[in-house]
Amino acid sequence: MGFADVFRTEWPRLVATLMRDVGDLAIAEDAAQDAFVEASTRWPLDGIPDRPGAWLVTTGRRKAIDQIRRMRRFEDRLPALAADPSTAESGRTASSYADVDREQALDDQLALLVGCCHPALASEAQVALTLRIVAGLSTPQIARAFLVSEETMTRRLTRAKTKIRAANIPFDPPDMDTLAERTGAVCEVISSIFTEGHASATDTALIRGDLCEEAIWLAELLSRLVPTDPEVAGLHALLLLTDARRPSRLDSHGGPILLADQDRSLWDQPMIARGLAELARAHSFHRGGAFQFQAAIAALHATAPTFEATDWPAVLRLYDVLLQRQPSALVALNRAIAIDRVHGPAAAVVALDAILVADDLTGDVDDYVYFHTARSDVLARLGRLDDADAALRRAIECSTNESERSFLRRRRQDLNEVVDLRRPR
């Protein structure tokens, strides 16, 4: 196991343990960081210790105590110092840490995750904190991933940590009553990290794989921590089954390739297998949920030999169920695309236009690129070429992504060549 692997596994455990010890997120984070810095200079000389986790906790706790002492001296009034260093010092030693049962380590990590995703924090703060505190990304890495300046991201993280400390947001493992709700919030955060990586609205590169990988890693961690929640398994399955298609999603110019045109031989089969296993596990609880239904749809795509041979009636049935549970314009859009495959473009255009006037759907697709490209596509197949062109124009207006815009312009050219051919000379 190399240093990077140790970091991956041990970082969240270390921060979680230190957080329980000192009760202050900033101190826990800094001490964990200092411990890894020390490891990075010592381990190449001394070799990786037999129990790297125990070594890191001993070192991290020493760093935390040093820091608390320093702060005591210089910042006597800091409320964080309610944490009593005498109890920290008389606490567990390295050898007793090794005996701390696995349950406690899992509880600590779950407490860390639900704390970072506490509803009293703004959602962009939840995302940033989760990537920093749980996934161990550096602030510059997170700033780059979200295309904001390092200064902005530092401020966002600092503000969140200040609120956690000032408002005393607890980092406790949730009790049974609130477990589903709290893990649901964590699922939302992981899902939005994945979405940000998968279809970036602002970047010139459409897919930022690093964020997809972080999201999958977090989903895997959460499903280890909460193995009894079908939605957690469903989310993990969904991300695996979606990300497996990543190698085929972009052309050589970085533009998107539609599902229908993707080279399926590029799909990551081992990842699909993992996704299917996770979906089966989610299904075994006999309790449906939005993530699980989306994962089931992704599974139908991932296992279809071709676009045409996809089990579209099953996809449509799943979207029907999903729409009931999650009445959003986005789900209705995807359902309309399935309607197109099952009942043809005439039925699809009715379904698409209904979304624009529906008042029982959350969200709005009027500014959504894919709504207008989908609408353009069905209109073109109905022979309504002028309407199809107008829809593509609208899609280009809505796009904030350069590689996507040039892709859409090429599509408009193709469409207009067809229009020209049909025009009487």
């Binding site: 409320p79 506490h118 009293a120 000032a166 408002a167 005393n168 947001i169 607890p170 406790d172």
Partner: protein
């Protein structure tokens, strides 16, 4: 740790004093305050008279400016407050959610600043 719960709501949403639901509604408030006291969480709490009784004061360049009305004109007005003493934000949020007018109004939860002596 002390938190202030600031209660804002649109007075038009409250049961009118001559309505049938007014009595039970007042009963909910009494029960809530009692529950806070029983839990040892109550520090202080008052209901305020209507926003039309509010006056604001500002001192600018040594001159006192008194104006009729609350400091923010909006449909939702501050109608009262509690100061509670509980372990952490989650407990404070639980108490906030039990406030009778949280079902139609808004409760702002703010940690109280502590100054060491």
């Amino acid at each position: 740790m002390k938190y202030m719960l600031l209660l804002a709501s649109n007075p038009a949403d409250e049961p009118a004093p001559d309505s049938e639901s007014f009595g039970p509604y007042m009963g909910e408030w009494a029960a809530y305050s009692e529950a806070l006291a029983e839990a040892g969480a109550m520090v202080a709490g008052e209901a305020l008279q209507g926003a039309d009784t509010a006056s604001t004061v500002q001192v600018r360049d040594g001159k006192r400016i008194v104006t009729d009305g609350p400091f923010i004109e909006s449909k939702e007005v501050i109608g009262g407050y509690y100061v509670i003493d509980v372990a952490d934000l989650d407990e404070a949020l639980d108490w906030a959610a039990k406030i009778p007018n949280s079902h139609f109004g808004t409760v702002e939860v703010r940690p109280v600043m502590e100054f060491d002596g």
